[in-house]
Symmetry: D2
Amino acid sequence: MVGGGPGAFIGAVHRLCAALDGQVELVAGCFSQSHEKTLRMGEELYLSPRRCYATYQEMAAAEAALPAAERIDFVSIVTPNVSHFAVAETFLKAGIHVVCDKPMTYTVDEAKQLVKVVEQSKLVFALTHNYTGHPLVRHARQLFRSGQMGQVRKVVVEYLQDFLMVPHEKLGQKQAAWRVDPAQSGIGGTLGDVGTHCVNLLEYVTGDPITELCADKSTFLPDRKLDEDVNALLRFQGGGKGALIISQVCTGEENGLRLRVYAERGAIHWAQENPNSLELYRYGEPRQTLTRGQGYLSDAAKACTRIPTGHPEGYLEAFATIYCDVVRAIRRSIDGSPMATDEYDFPTVYDGLRGMQFIYAAVESCATGSTWVRM
Amino acid sequence: MVGGGPGAFIGAVHRLCAALDGQVELVAGCFSQSHEKTLRMGEELYLSPRRCYATYQEMAAAEAALPAAERIDFVSIVTPNVSHFAVAETFLKAGIHVVCDKPMTYTVDEAKQLVKVVEQSKLVFALTHNYTGHPLVRHARQLFRSGQMGQVRKVVVEYLQDFLMVPHEKLGQKQAAWRVDPAQSGIGGTLGDVGTHCVNLLEYVTGDPITELCADKSTFLPDRKLDEDVNALLRFQGGGKGALIISQVCTGEENGLRLRVYAERGAIHWAQENPNSLELYRYGEPRQTLTRGQGYLSDAAKACTRIPTGHPEGYLEAFATIYCDVVRAIRRSIDGSPMATDEYDFPTVYDGLRGMQFIYAAVESCATGSTWVRM
Amino acid sequence: MVGGGPGAFIGAVHRLCAALDGQVELVAGCFSQSHEKTLRMGEELYLSPRRCYATYQEMAAAEAALPAAERIDFVSIVTPNVSHFAVAETFLKAGIHVVCDKPMTYTVDEAKQLVKVVEQSKLVFALTHNYTGHPLVRHARQLFRSGQMGQVRKVVVEYLQDFLMVPHEKLGQKQAAWRVDPAQSGIGGTLGDVGTHCVNLLEYVTGDPITELCADKSTFLPDRKLDEDVNALLRFQGGGKGALIISQVCTGEENGLRLRVYAERGAIHWAQENPNSLELYRYGEPRQTLTRGQGYLSDAAKACTRIPTGHPEGYLEAFATIYCDVVRAIRRSIDGSPMATDEYDFPTVYDGLRGMQFIYAAVESCATGSTWVRM
Amino acid sequence: MVGGGPGAFIGAVHRLCAALDGQVELVAGCFSQSHEKTLRMGEELYLSPRRCYATYQEMAAAEAALPAAERIDFVSIVTPNVSHFAVAETFLKAGIHVVCDKPMTYTVDEAKQLVKVVEQSKLVFALTHNYTGHPLVRHARQLFRSGQMGQVRKVVVEYLQDFLMVPHEKLGQKQAAWRVDPAQSGIGGTLGDVGTHCVNLLEYVTGDPITELCADKSTFLPDRKLDEDVNALLRFQGGGKGALIISQVCTGEENGLRLRVYAERGAIHWAQENPNSLELYRYGEPRQTLTRGQGYLSDAAKACTRIPTGHPEGYLEAFATIYCDVVRAIRRSIDGSPMATDEYDFPTVYDGLRGMQFIYAAVESCATGSTWVRM
């Protein structure tokens, strides 16, 4: 692991999730720019101090030099966005598979470069758009893939939080501080932090990509430089339309990622805060609520279900499912029978590029008076 | 009553609601363009055949000629949009107060003219944006008016139905037929039928008017000429932003009018399908659910509450509340102490003009490639 | 109307509901034991003072003496329980149909006598267990009647309020005062006020009568003499079991009447506070939510639906439906083609007797140490 | 681990949960009565075959003989109820701490004996009533402990499933087979499997023990010998009353454990299927929804919260919290500073005895015609 030092949120999540299914063991890390902090964190995690490295470059080199049976199989990158590219490139060039948090890079150019680096490496690169690990999200995708829903007419995707209602960055909170700092986050604030999840989720479920968008962003708190709140109109390849509604300054919203898709022959609603159920509507029929763990769900949903219906799985389990899928691909790669990228059931470098293109398109739209921009 | 013949929806609603509180008695009507149908409907409603008129012009003239104690105090206009203006003008000029269904007129020019006619008449003119009659909508308005919520940051207003998923107009359904016919509805389809309710509701609650919008409309069913589905970005006078999401082709949506307002010091959520409660969020505090009939609500909410908490009131009761408020204003007018327009607690001719301006602004935005248009 | 003077709750409800569908006009009343209050209330209601009577006996006699076309067709009794029997008997003997609020009488003996009086009178007698007027309750009944649900296994019926959390009777609130006074209410407090609704609702829906019960009642507030809170075990004729959970001292509960029935081939859930939907569960299938106004509902549900799906109907509409059904039976009686009692689709004197038997069985169970008592 | 072989549910859950927080490593097991199956399971779990034992007796002896640093610190017992006592006793006598699934033993006598064994051993004994590991359950307990709620008036606790709607035991499903077999389960079916959770949860939250109960049990499916469905009336030490409603044959219910407590100064509602929120009602105030991860919660709730608000934690996380608490107690024991039993924040042998007493009291009540039995 690179990043995820004391006090970090997403690093701890990656550790819990990787461990959950007993397939992954954390053995090495560079958790902080301070070697001392890395050593302290390593101790807490029962790591050997020899594998708690001062820099990620050192870590990549040292691990690559170990015998295959000892060295790390992959690295998880959980640093602020600004360093994703450099760290990923370093490990990929050292022959080590990569799991990277989103958004994928600091700039869209880095994203394009990373596509090339990954393609050349023939290694596994996974991006943790974790919400696609929920069984009912996978079931929703099957509903669209199978043709049961027909053409998409309207998508409403929202991701609302109130995390940035307070100027935490002025009060010493590290997680907020880097997120509102363009030097660490890139040109998107909320766009990168939650917007990219929306784009990934909706395209994953419908299979119908966004072709153009028109965005309107706002910043309400003083001294903030990045977008805190964005509304955007979307148009899809298949002729449908959509609205994307995101914010990190919406009072009372905790982690309100919600997807509604209205199509020709039915509609679905899914909400991250209640992830164990999926609403399914058909014209003129009773509304249906599908629940995780039931026999009527698709194999895709069943394959990532751990415990019986009514015993709620949550955020960590879905995140861990992404790790399981990645581990499967890495094992296949190690075994010499690598999967093709389109066999992956986890987000890839191409999804990462798409996320960066979204951020850039939205920022360009806003910069030109909220006009339409192709994506 | 003018309009509301056999099979009509909104005419019957007006009759139920006007009667509910025992303040209004229906005594005369011109329910249809066919005198025979008007007579038949009149019989069903226990009216005197002499007061079942062949034309609205005849009705206005005959009623105006009756002694004050006998003639109708006001007329309810529940015809398709195309005739609202002519009927309203005729009755106002005959000295009779008017209640009119929305949208107010067929064109924005008619709306402007009607403003003048009403102003000159010094009579009461009410527009039945019925959703503002719900006690918790009135409480929400008080929260914003009182300054407790602070500046509006984001509004999400939706009105989704699946009423037009099926080409009812080809299957003989009258209500659908006029709604999808530009010759009867005007230039807006969904924009007029549900969009104007959204604009009225959000401006009523927040008191913060829309200044510009950018809209994207769609028509999915073959042979339809008007918009079935619209998404729009909104900007408000106070600096906030919004999204307006309307449709009549969203499978499984019944009458999904929902308003969410996120402001500086709190947020509210209200949904028409569950109108007896209001969600209120404050940063860092437990979420609150306020319920109709409770002592902690504002006087504005209490004044329009008929029965105790937990005994749900619905669509008809809120609609009837608008009638109660109108009747109060008409009584004051008859008593010779007319209210000023800004004392009215029901929608007026100015709200009606605003609705028409919204339709025209949205259509213009779409016609120019979904650009921003001032409203 | 007898009862329903200034400040009364249920009297006002009866008036609103009787008026809603334009079939009933209030023309006479004895609203209070004070003639002056009756006159005042009559004036508010635009009644002729001649038909605002000093006593109910006088009213029955005077109205019976009027020509058939002028006299009242029926009387609504909305006094405290203690006088229901005497008033009902008086009007029935005067040849006037009766609508009576629940519980039907002060004692079970009166209830038995009233059965005889009604049978002899050949007049319509209706009891306003209003919750059976909801379209989805009627649909639920059809599901059980049609055999689609199979044998009932478990019923959970609850009716929870917090109305009596505060000693309103010591603070001058009339509605609370008579309810907690055995001299006016009878031997049941909560048992009569909300318990009888539970029994009526569950037997109406399942058609499977309670055969025995075991009850445990409590009174928490000082100086109260009647039950405020009861839990009871139920056994049904068909072999199923149940729990009845009622209270008027449950903080935060407003009018929490909820019915769940688990049967051999499915389950239903209905809640009065959200009466426009019905949950329907089938083993191994997605949960269904049925909503008022949809085409897939039974004719019984459609027949009592006024406005389209998604436009919520509430407490008053369901109550008014009972009135509509009663009016139909009274018209038939007046026309000389009276319905048989088992054709009635409203609660009758037999339902009223059943409610009184429930109160007595529950009180007897409690008095004998919460043992099982046949009902 | 003893038990939890191929196909078992709860064994797999224990393994996931023990692993989640990186504090526990599974190193030895006797997963099945077949040594071959144990070896196979051990291989899947990356265990050394030397520590995959043929019998639990052998395992206890062999592990006890290892040096302290190598031997297991504790054993998790996840076998059918019939063997809990023998296995627990064996390990405790070998000086090994024990985590045991519920219900604690096969008979109430064994439970009493086990209390003595545990007391003599001075070792940690934990029972996995996992639902007490939810942050909002712990917060609810604090609300009652702190005196904010006042005296308990009414408790409604339900645990409804449809798991046994189908005769799985005849169709080869192992989990169902032992649960419906008195030879493996004991005298309680649903009473033991879900009823004991209810008792533990409600007494944990309110701190107000059940003093007597009156139960009515049913068995609907042919050839079943144990209770499938039970309703019971409860009385509490503090004078309050309750209803316990449990079943494993309620169509459409998945894992419906729900607790409602109405007290003098407020009420709480918590539901296992949506464990991240807690409803809190105060008389005359807006209803509150408290959510996991918020700053206003008690320290008890915060201490067992892993990830931020809005990121749902579920069944496994709460279960893992019990393991964390047990591990803390075991570490203290190993360190030579053992906690007192009443410092434990996990269910103990006394809770287990209480559960067995509940089963026996309920069965005795039913056997005597559903009379009241002290507990």
